[in-house]
């Protein structure tokens, strides 16, 4: 069966099944969708443009804090706040990206500078009383108000993140087949050669950065509305950055379905190992680290890469 058919079947299941799922499974599914979404957003810059960002938490946090502060202080609905957050994040991404790309940072150097930016934002958030400092921001429980991105029960949130994830996949697919996509792939393979061939590497990379950071910020707003609590570590901490890129890498960076596939494997894996390896604290993460090393070693192209290598019936 072609990849499209599988994806279609999966989508149908994802649309129809959740109302019948027990609450615990629905929660896991929402996590899967969220991390897959973040992976897809990261993938645009990391997988397609080949710029490996270790600090996407910066955009996640900007999105979360922007929409939440606008909601709590000015009563602006998070649906709008989300867009504002995305724009701010994109602006920050362009700023950081311009500095980094203009000064020729590539590979691990680029990764490290993105990590530094995210950490700096975290420290600023911790020391800013107006944003709640370490106590964070709580979205007080309230009666459901769909216009304010507040729903009763989990199911509506699920469909929101499903829509976001599907949207991110669709955007990735369009990107892949667009001129920008081709340019990015050329840059990823060999930036100098691409430049020599007339590609405006700086401009292309910045476009990828803007899209990637905008989308990541939307995920931040979703998180804030769903969990109703954010603080500097949850939003700007390295865990968020790593979550996003792991889904993409394990699933297959630079592929359309990779991040989502990666999340479908990794998220339940960490849940299962936590449940199965109860007893001593740390065993589950230890196993997770081991699995990560094994996956990286034996599936360097990620899961999509492994699937593609299978011989197809002609």
């Amino acid at each position: 069966m072609a990849a499209e058919a599988w994806a279609g079947l999966a989508l149908a299941l994802l649309l129809a099944a959740p109302p019948f799922l027990p609450p615990y499974f629905l929660e896991i599914l929402i996590s899967v969708m969220l991390f897959g979404y973040l992976g897809a957003a990261w993938n645009i810059l990391g997988g397609y443009a080949g710029q490996f960002s270790f600090g996407h938490a910066a955009y996640f946090g900007i999105g979360a804090y922007t929409s939440t502060l606008l909601f709590l202080r000015l009563g602006i609905t998070p649906w709008l706040g989300m867009v504002a957050g995305g724009v701010l994040a994109a602006a920050f991404g362009l700023f950081a990206g311009y500095l980094s790309f203009r000064y020729g940072l590539r590979g691990p150097y680029f990764s490290l500078v993105t990590l530094a930016f995210a950490e700096m934002l975290r420290v600023v958030a911790v020391n800013t009383k107006a944003a709640g400092s370490s106590l964070g921001l709580v979205i007080p429980t309230r009666t459901p108000a769909p216009l304010d991105f507040v729903f009763a029960g989990k199911l509506p949130y699920y469909y929101v993140i499903l829509a976001m994830a599907v949207g991110a996949v669709w955007i990735t697919r369009r990107l892949e087949r667009s001129k920008l996509g081709y340019s990015l792939r050329a840059i990823r393979e060999n930036e100098d050669a691409a430049e020599a061939a007339g590609v405006d590497a700086l401009g292309m990379k910045l476009r990828a950065m803007a899209a990637s950071s905008f989308l990541t910020a939307l995920g931040g707003t979703f998180y804030a509305q769903y969990f109703a609590y954010i603080d500097p570590t949850i939003t700007f901490g390295p865990a968020v950055s790593i979550q996003g890129l792991l889904q993409a890498i394990v699933g297959g960076a630079g592929t359309v379905l990779g991040p989502l596939l990666g999340s479908f494997v990794l998220t339940p894996l960490s849940e299962l190992s936590r449940a199965a390896l109860r007893g001593r604290a740390g065993v589950d993460v230890m196993v997770y680290g081991l699995v990560l090393m094994l996956v990286i070693s034996f599936l360097p192209q990620g899961l999509m890469g492994a699937l593609r290598r299978r011989p197809r019936p002609s």
């Binding site: 911790v126 370490s134 709580v138 007080p140 603080d231 936590r274």
Partner: protein, 409 residues
């Protein structure tokens, strides 16, 4: 392993009760019931160790009540404890709470993490189930007009204001006025909460906060921060921190001869921690700490400590003390309510006036937000390698050493 034992015990108790019900001939007399209580704790995950300590305290208290004949006003109904594991996650906290409520618990105990508590209290409120907070310290948990949330231990505000007050009173008794206070706290949720209180109550308690320094708890060096403190010439240095950072601060402060009358921990994870004291004898001498504790003057407390030691082969800690007390409050309320009905139980809890407890405070009474109105931290000082209670005066087991010479230049 211990967890399985507990579950099996709970199961056996329930099974035993059911079997007894079946065996008794129907003589027109009300059968002995059981009262189901549920707990939700992070039994797996990084806080598993502390959660187990709390569970031990719950279990000890429970068995004590049952062995003494159960709830008399319910014809000797025994207490049973149904388990729940939150893994420190909000979603699990909610689902476990919902599950236990479905299984008919009269009250819920837990959940450690303030974040989890913030969410679970809505579940318990919706289901009109009394929720006895355990270890969750955030002040906002009792806000919002909820009727079913109760907290026995002192919250952040009580912890800070009463500790500062205890120090000021103690200093006054020694002829020293506390006018200038410096505070260092870790920059996370815990430290910032304490710092905010110490700052906002400065005027009311009569001191000026001359220096407030949040710090990153992973930092290996605090010399620069402590120099700033020394330059501000405070009378006291208050520290809300965790184990490692508190150690480095105490170490460097001593060497800098920071010039304060005393170093005071505020809910500090290290300064009244017996293991920390044992590992760092010379360093910890005469450190103060305002923290959760038991009443050392209470003969019942001594009996409880002995019982705990005998059963678990370990020393009772504050976690266990708080858990033990929560069961005591529930038992007392059940006796007065004479019912397992949740609403009646809730009303009985709200009217609690319990003097027979082992905490360093007057009677346990709840205000209309559900906080223990008389909650009081103990003021401890390390003397001869042991943390001893030196305040409030009526609970003290030793006289404080104040001012502490080693901090002076």
């Amino acid at each position: 392993m211990r967890r399985e034992r507990v579950s099996r015990r709970a199961f056996l108790q329930t099974a035993g009760a059911v079997a007894a019900l079946g065996a008794l001939p129907a003589i027109g007399r009300a059968q002995a019931k059981e009262v189901k209580l549920g707990y939700i704790l992070p039994m797996t995950g990084p806080l598993a160790f502390e959660a187990q300590l709390s569970l031990n305290g719950l279990q000890l208290a429970l068995d004590e009540v049952n062995n003494a004949g159960g709830i008399k006003s319910l014809e000797g109904a025994k207490l049973t404890l149904l388990p729940g594991d939150t893994q420190q996650k909000v979603e699990l906290g909610n689902s476990e709470a919902a599950r236990l409520i479905d299984q008919g618990v009269s009250a819920l105990i837990g959940p450690f993490s303030s974040l989890v508590a913030y969410s679970v209290r809505q579940v318990t409120e919706k289901n009109r189930t009394p929720f006895m907070l355990l270890a969750a310290v955030a002040d906002n948990l009792t806000e919002g007009g909820l009727r079913y949330v109760f907290r026995v231990q002192p919250n952040g505000k009580a912890m800070s204001t009463l500790t500062m007050n205890n120090m000021i009173e103690m200093a006054k008794a020694a002829g020293v006025a506390i006018k200038r206070v410096a505070m260092m706290h870790e920059d996370g949720n815990f430290g910032t909460t304490m710092g905010n209180h110490v700052e906002s109550f400065a005027g009311k308690l009569g001191y000026t906060l001359v220096q407030r320094i949040p710090y990153n708890l992973k930092s290996p060096d605090f010399t620069a921060e402590l120099s700033k403190v020394k330059a501000a010439k405070p009378d006291l240095l208050v520290i809300s921190g965790y184990y490692g950072d508190s150690k480095i601060i105490a170490e460097t402060a001593a060497k800098l001869r920071i010039g304060v009358h005393a170093l005071v921990g505020l809910a500090n994870a290290a300064y009244s921690n017996p293991k920390f004291i044992a590992d760092n004898r010379e360093l910890t001498d005469n450190l103060f700490d305002g923290n959760y504790w038991h009443n050392p003057q209470s003969p019942r407390a001594k009996a409880v400590f002995d019982a705990y030691q005998k059963r678990f082969n370990a020393t009772l800690t504050s976690h266990g003390v708080q858990a033990y007390t929560v069961i005591g409050v529930l038992r007392d309320a059940l006796e007065r309510a004479a019912s397992t009905d949740r609403d009646k139980l809730r009303d009985a809890i709200a009217r609690t006036n319990l003097a027979d407890h082992i905490l360093p405070q007057d009677a346990i009474k709840f205000d209309d937000t559900g906080e223990n109105a008389n909650a009081s931290p103990a003021l401890l000082q390390v003397q001869n390698g042991r943390p001893v209670v030196v305040g409030p005066a009526r609970f003290a087991e030793a006289k404080p050493v104040f001012p502490v010479p080693k901090w002076h230049g």
